[in-house]
Amino acid sequence: MTPAEKRIEITLDSVLQSVELAEDLVLRVAGAAGFDEENCHRIGMSVREGVINAVNYGNQQSPDKKVRMSVALLDDKMEIIVSDEGKGFRLEDVPDPLAEENLLKSSGRGLFLIRAFMDEFDLRRSRHGGAELVLTKRYADAPSGRP
């Protein structure tokens, strides 16, 4: 960690209340980092979708499994990492929600929204074996700049 880096790490139970907790925390950090209302909304919703994914699909709401989230203010961007203890997945296996045959499906848009709302998105294997989503938003998007 560089001296300028600020990072918060939390461990969440695999319950739906964790989604609100995670979103609230990230919104506070994003607001403090100077992101405007629109970008705070985008960051908050992306984290919401990421944690829903981890709680529901990764950990399948198992009381024995945790969701870990790290929020960092790096030199040029805000970075959020959400990881679960599930089986992991591959992006190529996720159906495209914009495809004609998927448009009327009632689920499957979470990752798509994250990719639409964040500047960078990466999926990797977490050290606990599950999926790890890495979301970043550059400060250049914030009119007031870096705090």
């Binding site: 989604v19 609100e20 909304h41 914009l98 009632s106 848009r109």
Partner: protein, 114 residues
């Protein structure tokens, strides 16, 4: 703001004034029950007035789509009225503008059923 949905009648059409968040664990399930309720009462021309909906997540979007197909499968129509910018943008990026009929004012949506 918590989810709230208040149905009212206008020219034989049910307009539901929705406010608050339509999200997983909050408004999504209530939205589903409300649409099921209306269909159970034989009300198949439904307008969701989303003017006061400030937040929808992917689960809420899924619930709108699910409501749309449920109503359509029963021979009815579900249309959307007065989207906020956030909801408008979400429907646009998810291509659901091509699915839903969306109106900006009540007289227009009411006359679209005739």
């Amino acid at each position: 703001m918590a989810f709230k949905a208040t149905p009212r009648e206008a020219s034989g059409i049910t307009i539901v004034d929705v406010s608050g968040r339509i999200t997983l664990g909050e408004g999504s399930a209530m939205m589903r029950e409300m649409i099921r309720d209306l269909l159970g009462k034989g009300q198949k021309k439904i307008v969701l007035n989303l003017a006061d909906v400030n937040y929808i997540d992917s689960s809420g979007i899924g619930e709108l789509v699910s409501g749309f197909t449920t109503v359509r499968n029963q021979g009815g129509e579900l249309k959307l009225l007065s989207l906020t910018k956030k909801v408008h943008d979400l429907l646009q990026i998810t291509k659901l503008f091509t699915v839903f009929e969306v109106y900006n004012d009540e007289p227009s949506v009411l006359s679209s059923f005739r």
